[in-house]
Every structure is written in structure tokens, then in C-alpha cells.
Symmetry: C2
């Protein structure tokens, strides 16, 4: 997934003399001064869709207008209380994103993050399927594939769990490490997973990784795979040959004899409208039954009118695919631009690499060791906001100070172009500072 | 609030001979048999608005259609991520329902019940403003004014708190009892309150009760008043002289030197559309700051498009009042019918009483001691579903087996009329059974 550019190419910074480095630094500092003077305000920090992507879902907004419009297919008046698990057409729709059957789906509110937070909270307060509430245990540990999603790590950290980083490979988490950690220690209760087009690396888990997760010889009987399939349908190409697929963790867990070990999550946040979408989870029948019982204490139901809007607008798997192809048409040029600008701007510099994802919302960039935080700081001071360096690690601490998440979706192409110029400049400057420090 | 009908009136059941009771029972059993044969399916169980009430908010649904429509007053594109605390116009709107300033308001999702559940969950997991997490304590007790709201009691029960019933008076909770319990025991951490048109009694707290709650000499420094102002604007009359008002608990707490002791909740569930409304809470600046920090782990924001719809549709306090007057016009005849049918049907029977609320969603009915569960069972078997007897008490256990919550809002008038006939009949039959058992 990562493409090294460095070592072999002429003029790699590491091969320059101190004098050459100083001369280059002076030249780039002059460029940087000129950039700062422009007073830019550009943002590549969060995975937010651009305005043109949001426009794709405008037809959904006014879709329901009359009382008749508000009837679900089973006759439910979606304007009134009721139906905890969601209306049938919304469960069917979300089952497509969750690769499951509608019976195993609960449609929640507007945020899969909330569903994940609340799932962990329930484990803490109540345990799961008869296990001891985790809050009653001396310690609970959680596996965090890195680089990974900062908001995942923040949930387990907030509840006092000990986040344990596990390296990502090009096929998913390093399963030797996961198996060793989970088998050795009953305090290890689960793992965060973004199985397709992972945040930020763009990695899709291989079949072997999924099967090994399902069959994990975990010491904790209530070990849970938190399966956040956030980018299930978020391909950058509408050519099926260019799209990743991932095994169903539910089926894999059943085959492995661990049928209750997973909870899957998805939302339409980056399908329709972030914050105004619908989120859902899927789990085994036993887990769903227990969750419904607990959820009934906290809510009557999600927003069924928004469920109905989504079901009518997106319809089914082909409807979703057609809609996502329109997103891809907007996003593809942005990801191509990122790759081109990085390749051109960093040609020969050395020690830089980045992902070339086939879907999702991010490019994972590895700067020379020990320079990521400085590069992000320089970019910010020049008016380009990046995700904080280290954010892709638990506690915000990347021991290599190398990984930077690039989120290219929000800015229009011309802004993205300008922001990438600044970013490349700052990566070089930070690297030069390091090399000169070492002289 | 309760009007006795019994003792003084001729032919009270308690004054009849065994023979007279048996003769009356035979006659009413014949009526009951005829009713059962009709195969009715009527429901007075939950506080759901009727379809004509839902129609009042239809103009809101298609209010946002274009990208320009989706801009908040501060320019925020409500279709994208962000703004945890809610858009300014939604905070201002909900501040009206919460009797507070917009700065102290956080707009959540579609359910105030969820906001309450999550508030209690945070107390358990994290404590509040530096206090010990309640989950770490040996026991936590919670005051539950009775009769009260079953879903409140279910939250504290689900988290393992010990619910302690406190009698309601015509002015709110019995404050002598509340003060004695809270002062004596640091394990008593809070109280559920529905301060206006309480569920089910229709009681509005007097100024003295609000001030005594605010000044409560609680042994627990982190004692919390959960102030669910669910019926803040839900009057049955649009004549201000016929509308109840309640002191602001926030102001009262500040005056009493306990500025952080309360959290207020409200929603538009029974203003616009249940399940498709917006919910909000208000609290002291210190509490709001802490809550925002914790909430940020669980969500990016509520549904800002739905916030914007609500703000544009309801506008402000006069806009809300005008809208609620339209609800009142629909609901008033239903509440009048309940009172008339009960008065006529139970005239002279004795030992029955009921509330005559000026707002809210319920009539609280007290059947002769020991007969409520039987009356509700008889009604159900005749096709009329009531809230379960005892539901208005913690654990579903009314020691008097007397209180029944009547929810007259959902059925159309003619169905309500028929359902009340059945209910009256079943109350009489259950009472007759009791009296004959005692002979």
C-alpha cells in the first residue's frame, strides 16, 4: 500500500552535504515566506464530503411532504413514536451496507460513532451475554491497529480502557501480534477494525485476516470485534475490478464457532449527508436481542422519517452503487491529484511514502521519522490545517512521529492543489531541519 | 388535583348489601360480555399525539430543499459534519422550552429520554465536576415522585440505582419526605422531576417546592435534580389565566447557592413529531462545559437539518405558543370527554378519583384500593389497552394497586368515547369483585 520513493533516486536529501542542505533550506524558506504572506485558509484535516457531494443528496430532503408520504411499507406512521429497531425498508437498506440480513440490523440515530460509543458503554456497565460488567474488572485492554481512526481510540480511552497499538500491514492488522496479545491476556477484550479502505491507510482486510480474527484464540470469552465498515461502498472507481471486497465477519465468526464475537457498524454519513444521515449496527441474534432490551431504556426509536427518506432515495444495493458512483466521479480527481502532487513534489527527496487507496476518505502519508509534527505545525502556520500529527495513534502519540493523515475530500480541486503545494513544502522543510540538526 | 366522588353520595357500592352487589355484578357482566363480543381494539396506553396533531407539523417536512435552504444563520452548511452544541437558531428555540439562555443549551438528537439516559450513564462512569464515579460507590439511591413516569424509573433501575418512591402532593413532591431522605443519606444522589403538568398527575410544582428543591440540604454534594420539563408549553387552554407556570430551577439553584445541581431537559416530540423532533438539555456553564467534552467522544453533532427545520417552522416563543394553541384545540375536547365520561359513569360508585389537568398528556386515575390491576386486565381482555397498572411506580409496583394512567390523546374522539365506556365498566366490575370477596 505504501510506495517508497526515496533511497535509490538521485539527490535524496539524506545524501546532500551540509552546505547543500543549507542552501536548499534557504531557498525553501523563501518560498515558505511567500506562501505565508498569502494568508491562506485551507483544510485537509477531516473526512468531510465537499459541497458538490452533498448536492447529490438534495432530492432526498423534500421527498416526504404529505401524511401519506410518511407511511412505511408496513403502514407505520413514521411521524409518531415507536419501532425501536427501525422500519423494515431502512433495516433492509442498512443490511446492504452491513453485509447482513435485515433481521440482524438495528437502525439507530444519525451517528455510527454514537452506536459504537454506546456499545462500549454497555459492555462497561452490563457486560455482554452474561459476562461480568467490564467496569467491575481491574483492567480492560483494547487492541488498536495503527495507524487508525482517532475517534475510535478516543472512545476506549475515555472509558479508561488501555489502548494497545498493533501494527497495520497491507492486509489488515498484524495477526501474529493480535493473536499473541489476545491469547495471553483475558483483560484484552476487543479490537477496533475498519475492514475496508481503512482510516487512514486505505487497507482492506484480506480473507485470511478476517478468518484469523474470527477464530482468534482469545482468553476473554466476551472478546468483541468492533467492525466499523465505514467505507463499505465508498469506492473511488465504479469498475468492479478496481473495487475492494471484504469477507463478512459475521459469517466468518459463525464458521469459527464464535457466533457472538462481533458487532458491525455503518452509516450513510458519507453516502448522503453527514450528521443528517442514518446509522445502524448488525450483530448476532443473541446480541441483537440483548441490545434491543438495553436500548429500549434509552430511546423509543431513531428518526423514522429520516429512515424513510433514505430508504426511498437509495432504494437498494444497485441504487446505492449508482449513487456512490456519482461520489466517486467527484472524489477520483482529488485522490489522483494528491498522488500526482506528492509524487512530483517529493521526487527524490527520500524517506517519504504514502498510500494509494482504491476507496475511503484518506491518504496515509509517512514523513521522514521524527518530522511529522513539525511538518503539520509549519503547514498550520502557513494556513493549511492537517489532522494533528500522531492523531492516528492511541493517545495522539506516534512513536515514529511519522504518520500524517491527508483528507482531500472537502476542498475544491484548486484549493486542494494549493494546499498540497504547501504541504509538500512543509514536509521538505521539516526534513531539512532534522537533517541539519543531525549534522 | 384529585376529586373524590364517593362516600357522601347515595348508592356508593360500599354501602350495598351482598345481594345488591351480586345483582349489579350480573348486570355489568352481561354488559361486559356484549362489549367483548364487539372485538374492540382501542388504546389509551401511551402519550402519543393523534394523527390530526401530527398534521399540524407537515409544513416543516419539505421546508428545506435546496443547498441555500440548508445554511444556518451563521452560514454553517447544516448538511455537513460539525457544531456539537447545535446551530444558534436551534439553541435559541430550545432555550424557550428550557426557560434558559441559548449559551446554556446543548441540542441533542431526537430524544430527551436519550439525553437523560446518557446523563445518568455519565454520572455512573465519570461522576460530575470532579465527584467520584457513581459506579464506584457501594450503593446509589434515587428519589422517584409517585405516581410518575415509568421510563424515568426504568433508566435509574437499569443502571442498578435503588429507586425510592416519594409521594406527590398537589404542589409537587412531598418536600418534607424529600428533604429528610436527601439530608440523611449521601447515597441519595438525585430526583426525577416533571415540574409542569406532571406525568401522570398533571401537577405543576409550586414556587415553594422549586425553592426547597434548589435549597435541599442534600448529603451528597453531587445531588442532581433531573428536571424533565416535557410539557413546558403543552397547555390545554390558550387563555394564559388557564395555563400553569413553574419557577426556573436554574435560577432557584443559583439563588440557593447550588448552581450546578440541576439538568433540564425538553424536546419537540409532542410539539412537532415524536421521534422526528429535536431534544435538548440546559445546565450550568460548568456542567455544560463538562458535558460537551464528554459528548464529543460519542458524536459529532445532532441532525442540524432537523434543527434548522424546527427553528424555521416554530421560530420563537410566540411561534411556539401559536402552534401549541392548535394542539390544544384538538386535545381539549378529549380531556373534557374523559372527565365527563368518568363523572357520569362513576357517579355514586365511590372510592374513585382522577386528576383534572390544565395541560400535559395524561389523566391520573385512582381506582378503589386493590383493584387497578384487575380493572386494567378486564379492559385489555375487552380490547382496550391501558398503561399497565403499577407502571407509574418504580419497579411497576403500586403498593395500593390503585393508580392507572389514562392517555387520551391518540384515539379519535369517538374511539376515546367507546374506550372510556369500557374502562368505566371494568373499574366497576373490579370494584364489585373486591367488595364481594370481602363479604
Amino acid at each position: 500500500m505504501h510506495r517508497g520513493l526515496g533511497k535509490g533516486i538521485a539527490m535524496a536529501y539524506a545524501d546532500l552535504t551540509e552546505g547543500e542542505l543549507e542552501s536548499l533550506q534557504a531557498q525553501l524558506q523563501a518560498e515558505y515566506g511567500a506562501v505565508k504572506a498569502k494568508g491562506l485558509a485551507l483544510n485537509m484535516a477531516r473526512g468531510k464530503p465537499g459541497a458538490d457531494q452533498l448536492d447529490l443528496s438534495l432530492p432526498m430532503l423534500a421527498m416526504l411532504a404529505t401524511a401519506d408520504d410518511c407511511r412505511a411499507e408496513d403502514g407505520t406512521d413514521c411521524r409518531n413514536y415507536g419501532v425501536l429497531e427501525g422500519i423494515p425498508e431502512a433495516r433492509r437498506l442498512m443490511a446492504v451496507l452491513l453485509d447482513d440480513t435485515p433481521e440482524n440490523v438495528i437502525v439507530g440515530g444519525n451517528s455510527s460513532l454514537t452506536l459504537m460509543h454506546d456499545t462500549i458503554a454497555r459492555f462497561l456497565d452490563f457486560g455482554t451475554l452474561g459476562s461480568v460488567p467490564w467496569a467491575a474488572l481491574d483492567e480492560v485492554k483494547w487492541l488498536c491497529p495503527v495507524p487508525g481512526y482517532d475517534r475510535h481510540f478516543a472512545i476506549t480511552e475515555a472509558f479508561g480502557l488501555q489502548n494497545i497499538p498493533v501494527p497495520m500491514t497491507g492486509e489488515g492488522p498484524d495477526m501474529d501480534a493480535v493473536e499473541a496479545l489476545a491469547a495471553a491476556d483475558p483483560a484484552v477484550k476487543g479490537i477496533w477494525c475498519v475492514p475496508k479502505y481503512s482510516n487512514p491507510g486505505g487497507v482492506t482486510y484480506s480473507d485470511e485476516v478476517v478468518r484469523r480474527l474470527a477464530a482468534l484464540p482469545a482468553a476473554a470469552a466476551d472478546f468483541c470485534i468492533m467492525w466499523d465498515n465505514a467505507y463499505a461502498v465508498h469506492h473511488l472507481s465504479d469498475d468492479a475490478a478496481e473495487q475492494d471486497t471484504v469477507l463478512d465477519i459475521g459469517e466468518a465468526c459463525r464458521q469459527a464457532g464464535n457466533p457472538d464475537r462481533y458487532v458491525k457498524f455503518a452509516s450513510t454519513s458519507k453516502v448522503t449527508l453527514p450528521g443528517a444521515g442514518i446509522a445502524a449496527l448488525a450483530a448476532s441474534p443473541a446480541n441483537i436481542a440483548e441490545m434491543k432490551q438495553r436500548m429500549a431504556v434509552a430511546t423509543i426509536s431513531g428518526d423514522k422519517l429520516n429512515q424513510l427518506r433514505h430508504a426511498r432515495f437509495l432504494q437498494d444495493a444497485p441504487g446505492i452503487a449508482a449513487h456512490m458512483a456519482r461520489h466517486a466521479a467527484i472524489l477520483r480527481p482529488k485522490f489522483q491529484l494528491v498522488d500526482r502532487k506528492l509524487a512530483e513534489g517529493l521526487a527524490g527527496v527520500g524517506e517519504c511514502s504514502w498510500s494509494k487507496p482504491r476507496g475511503g476518505y484518506f491518504v496515509s502519508f509517512d514523513a521522514p521519522t521524527g518530522t511529522a509534527a513539525r511538518a503539520v505545525q509549519l503547514a498550520r502556520e502557513a494556513g493549511v490545517v492537517m489532522t494533528g500529527a500522531g492523531a492516528t495513534w492511541p493517545g495522539g502519540c506516534d512513536p515514529q512521529d511519522s504518520n500524517i493523515r491527508i483528507a482531500p475530500t472537502l476542498p475544491p480541486l484548486e484549493e486542494l492543489d494549493a494546499a498540497l503545494d504547501v504541504f509538500v513544502l512543509c514536509v521538505k522543510l521539516a526534513y531539512l531541519e532534522k537533517l541539519l540538526d543531525q549534522k
